[in-house]
Amino acid sequence: MTKNILEVKGLKTYYRTRLKEQVFAVDGVDFVLEEGKTLGIAGESGCGKSTLALSLMGFYFPPLHYQSGSIVINGIDIMKLKKEELRSKILGREIAYIPQAAMNALNPTLKIIRFIEDMMKVHRPELSKKQVWEMAAERFETLNLSPNVLNSFPNELSGGMKQRTVIAISTILNPKVLIADEPTSALDVSSQKVVIKLLKDLLDKQFIKSLVFITHELPLLYHVTDDIMVMYAGEIVERGTSHEMIFDSIHPYTKKLMGSIIVPEEGMKGHKLSAIPGAPPNLKNVPAGCRFSDRCSYATDACMTGKVESKMVDDRTYRCLYDVEILKEWYAHE
């Protein structure tokens, strides 16, 4: 039986604004990630996917606050740890993070190697500066990055190079889980490919065990991850394998989202692009019933009231009032 490397149960993390309002950015998220698996998280802007990525680290900065739920990484419930233990034992070692804006993720006035030295002072204090250099140079070389990069300042590197450097730094201690928050969104297509290849390399070489890849680019996930999870308004609306999610989605939102993908093909210019009508709900006051109800073309009065729980059908989870069969029938009539 495969081991669960990451288990998240009932995770709720809210932003608290100055006016004492609450933003339900991550509102009751449950999922499990098995060892060796890759999971993609997709959704529109503002659905809470980046917040979920940050929340998984168990390290909260105001205005983001932990509300409830558990995060178990490799058997350790990190929300039960003291902040100091979390910092020195978990971050960078068990779970690592690649930020959305890798362009600015490195201190502009610090050489890359100095930054790695500061990191090792926490996690591997027994290493000398020379050993840190050797370790970093070896890892960089394995990942097809020139060790010369170590001696550069961040502004001397190109965007794609910076992104790969950040990935190499994040994974230098072989963390079990790597959370990548839109690592390719700011890159041109060829750099994107290099970054994806690098992530796959890390998995193949067993430097990381599992990967959580967050993006709004669904076609990319299809090629990268085993499973895809779609988020909407702070909740997970559907999860399945990449193939199922793209070609056989259950939830109306996933269906619509897949329909919004722009695929280059002959005669595209004449086509009418379909988009989801309306806008995602304001996460300060979420609808009482199904959160997608006001934009869903199949919504009934029953959808507007009463909380919708997620359902499980042969390994697939989805959050809709209606059963798969009914939904499938509706889709067939379109």
Partner: protein, 336 residues
């Protein structure tokens, strides 16, 4: 020749041209003020004299002595010629004292007052600003408005208020001068004590204003850096808060250092108001006296020192920046 030396020479030429214009203006502007300095002197010298011929004679002698009988452009050429030999002329008001001698006694007072005050104010201001940004909460809410308030009071108002409270009302500090005027400057405890007592109030006024401005700047810079992506990323890799704070404050300091270099350059010119309010025997007070007496050579001498120090500070800063920061160097090359 490398592109950088070309840049250096070009910059130097521009600064030299600016200096030439400044020197010309320093010469011309005082002479455009209404009034005749010799009349002022003669009216003092000839008190009690009734013979108009004698008065006329005294007047002519002074006109000749000061070279004011010659046309303006001849005077200018003489001024420039003397400048090359390091002679700034003879003061009218303190005749026959040399302007260079007066400036030599004045500059140490100005530098002695401004340099420590700016440095202390700069250091304290930056610490306060950084702590306010880092601690947030009550500390920030208390420090920031106070700094903003102090920084918004016009300096002369602040100086006069301090003089009124601590000098006139409480009598803690003397009202004017660099030392008790009955004393002879010498290396004795008594004299040094007197200098320190006279130094305190103008020193504190400059420190206070500098703290205000620096604290505001540093707070803003620190908040900006604290919210930057590298802070979050570093923390999520488990790097200690102490180390991350070091990154933040080092980066926030960079523009502050530029500010310090600039304020040191404008130090001599910036001392004007402070010295006038506290009657401190530096360049500012001399310039003020010189303007009232239409003492052309002394005015020109004071403004020359101010112009040269500002130009020198800017020039040095521009050259050093080009060497230190590769980004700025690249930008400088593009100007070519």
């Amino acid at each position: 020749m490398s592109a950088y030396s070309k840049y250096f020479i070009k910059k130097f030429c521009w600064y030299f041209l600016t200096l030439v214009i400044a020197v010309s203006l320093n010469f011309i502007l005082p002479r455009l003020i209404d009034g005749n300095p010799v009349s002022i002197i003669v009216s003092q010298v000839s008190k009690g004299m009734t013979d108009s011929d004698t008065i006329k004679q005294v007047y002519d002698t002074f006109m000749k002595e000061f070279g004011l009988d010659k046309p303006m452009w001849t005077q200018f050429l003489i001024y420039i010629k003397n400048l090359f030999t390091g002679d700034l002329g003879t003061s009218f008001g303190l005749y026959p004292k040399k302007v260079t001698d007066i400036l030599a006694t004045a500059v140490p007072w100005t530098v002695g007052l401004q340099l420590p005050a700016i440095l202390v104010g700069w250091i304290l201001g930056n610490i306060l600003g950084a702590v306010a940004a880092y601690k947030k909460g009550v500390f920030d809410k208390a420090i920031f408005p106070v700094a903003l308030f102090v920084n918004s009071i016009p300096f002369f108002t602040l100086a006069i208020i301090m003089l009124y409270i601590f000098g006139l009302t409480l009598k803690w500090f003397p009202l004017s001068g660099g030392y008790d005027f009955q004393m002879i400057p010498q290396l004795s405890f008594e004299f040094i004590g007197s200098v320190i007592r006279h130094h305190t109030l103008p020193f504190l006024s400059i420190v206070l204003v500098t703290i205000g401005g620096q604290a505001i700047g540093m707070r803003e810079m620190s908040i900006y850096e604290l919210n930057s992506d590298y802070v979050l990323y570093s923390k999520l890799l488990g790097i200690r808060d102490r180390t991350v704070s070091r990154y933040v404050f080092k980066n926030a300091m960079l523009p502050q250092i530029t500010g310090l270099a600039l304020s040191l350059g404008t130090m001599i010119g910036g001392s004007l108001i402070c010295e006038i309010v506290f009657s401190y025997p530096g360049i500012g007070t001399w310039l003020f006296t010189a303007i009232r007496q239409l003492d052309y050579p002394l005015i020109s001498g004071c403004t020359l020192i101010i112009a040269v120090s500002v130009l020198l500070a800017n020039f040095t800063l521009e050259i050093i920046y080009g060497i230190v920061d590769p980004r700025i160097k690249a930008a400088q090359m593009e100007d070519e």
